[in-house]
């Protein structure tokens, strides 16, 4: 078997193992199902009236793509925590002592979390439809938006994979990722319009990939506000392209780093 075929095969085996856990541990499944619903309802009803994204678009429509983006980014914490948990256990010694592709342990985790994200996106989309969100563009564009969300989430989970290898403690990961993910998701246009940020923060917001991901989704779902002034920043003008560039950069940097670190670390 070539190295690549081997890696792909082993990655699938590890991913399957991780997915079995989601089924066997009901608490995880509940978290997967409940938290996306909670996020949608929370923002739609608690902040729904307080935040006005501008005329001509309902806040909920504006909001839902932002929640999609925020939730899949948060979901990456799951990757980090899963890897940290494995690193503390004897199972990692088992994997290391097998003649398997060593990158498959991390690749399998990031792959299984794609499935996790598919589930949570499906649930959020359904909840969104219930509270009034609509896809106003073509279904093909909508599919592209979901694909972009999944690809971006996949890239972020490699960042968290590195964190999981570096900080082998589930509690620390959960706290540490909050410090990074909260600003990334909240200092973006996911929940509030770009115009509401002070000018000092606006550049950050415009080039924050969570913003461009949200913007790309809004455009693809047809949830943009035609009345609101579009940003002049290149990233906001070409949000899907810019997001994909970010995805590529993250993967090129973090996947090799995480794998190299995994190889070096021993319990």
């Amino acid at each position: 078997m070539s190295t690549l075929t081997r890696t792909v095969a082993d990655t699938q085996v590890v991913a399957k193992r991780n997915l079995i856990k989601i089924v066997r541990v009901p608490e995880i499944l509940v978290a997967v199902l409940i938290s996306p619903i909670m996020f949608v309802l929370l923002f739609a009803y608690v902040f729904g009236g307080a935040i006005d994204p501008g005329e001509g678009v309902s806040y909920r429509e504006f909001l839902i793509p932002g929640i999609f983006a925020q939730t899949v980014v948060f979901g990456a914490t799951f990757t980090g925590a899963g890897i940290a948990e494995d690193m503390q256990k004897g199972i990692i010694d088992r994997f290391r002592s097998l003649p398997m592709s060593q990158s498959a342990v991390l690749a399998g985790r990031t792959l299984s979390d794609v499935v996790y994200n598919v589930l949570s996106l499906a649930i959020m989309a359904l909840t969104g439809l219930v509270v009034g969100w609509r896809v106003r563009g073509s279904l093909l564009d909508a599919a592209a938006a979901f694909a972009l969300l999944l690809v971006f989430a996949y890239a972020v989970s490699w960042i968290m994979a590195l964190v999981g290898v570096l900080v082998p403690s589930v509690e620390v990961i959960n706290n540490a990722s909050f410090i990074v993910i909260m600003p990334l998701t909240f200092v973006s246009n996911a929940f509030v319009p770009l115009e509401s940020f002070p000018s000092a923060l606006r550049v950050f917001v415009e080039w924050n990939p969570v913003s461009t991901l949200t913007q790309a989704c809004r455009e693809l779902f047809g949830n943009t506000n035609p009345a609101a002034a579009a940003s002049d920043a290149w990233s906001m003008q070409n949000p899907a392209l810019y997001t994909l560039i970010c995805v590529a950069l993250i993967l090129v940097v973090f996947a090799p780093l995480a794998i190299a670190r995994y190889r070096q670390t021993s319990r």
Binding site: V13, K16, R17, R24, R94, S97, P99, S266
Partner: protein
Amino acid sequence: MTTATITARGLVKRYGQVEALRGLDLEVPQGTVLALLGPNGAGKTTAVRILTTLLRPDGGSASVAGADVLHAPEEVRRRIGLSGQSAAVDENLTGAENLEMIGRLYGFRRRRAVDRARELLAGFDLADAGDRPAKTYSGGMHRRLDLACALVAEPPVVVLDEPTTGLDPRSRLQMWEVIQGLVRAGTTLLLTTQYLEEADRLADDIVVIDHGRAIAQGTADQLKAQVGGERIELVIADAADRPAARAALAAVAAGDEVHHGSTERSLSVAVREGARSLRVVLDRLEADGVAVLDVGLRRPTLDDVFLTLTGRTAEEEAEPAGGTASRDGRGRHAQERDAVPARPDVTPEVTR
């Protein structure tokens, strides 16, 4: 039989200031069993982790089944099976799923992985539990599953890190039977243990390690000869019978003189023929009319080996070693023993 299946030369491993291994040499010829015997913290697990490619040594070299641990770790992994003290199975997977996963990671096709899993479950008395998540397993079942995981690809070399530590006696016996089956099948085995009895029962050769270094090597019999083999411990009812009791013990002594216990009425001696010696002593005491309060045959433990080799017991790690440590140690030890005399009926397996 001269091909060394596991060879280690001058292994050194440091953790900061602590030297876990200080130049360990090992040699396990093909088809034999080597036990690495030592207390907690002696460096056993570090040695195992280096030999199974989980850890890189700071110095020295090692090869397993012809593959160099440092330069061809992938080859080594192909030829070994590892079963550790912390059972490395996935708790959320069933026994069958654990084994199938490992088969797949060895590159088996699905069919073969499934068949092999069933075969191992049956062989390890886990067939009924095969479809239950491993988190529902008992300690003994966990260890058996863990060992089964190590054997999925039928590796020529198996490394077991304290396979029975923490198991109840029944599970331990069951585990020993499984391991003995492996040995009969010709597997080369390296096992670490804290129990002399385990090493004695399973290993051809024993290396005693302490502070990261081998301090003795030999067969179980050679080590026991060094320690003084099994001991008869006797408590008589009347101190006046002491000379007669002493003479009875001296007649079966393995060379060492008869030791006095903590009281006037207790004595002990190292013997060569175990149960037979015990019977000889009891017959003679009976004939001489000596009333026996308590008598037992005690096998030497890791403690005895340690006491003899280092002058301290395995537990007394930080004991400052004075010039008289050895004698003091023995005296104190004898007292502890007399407080809870070993009884013949609970002494584990007297003859091999």
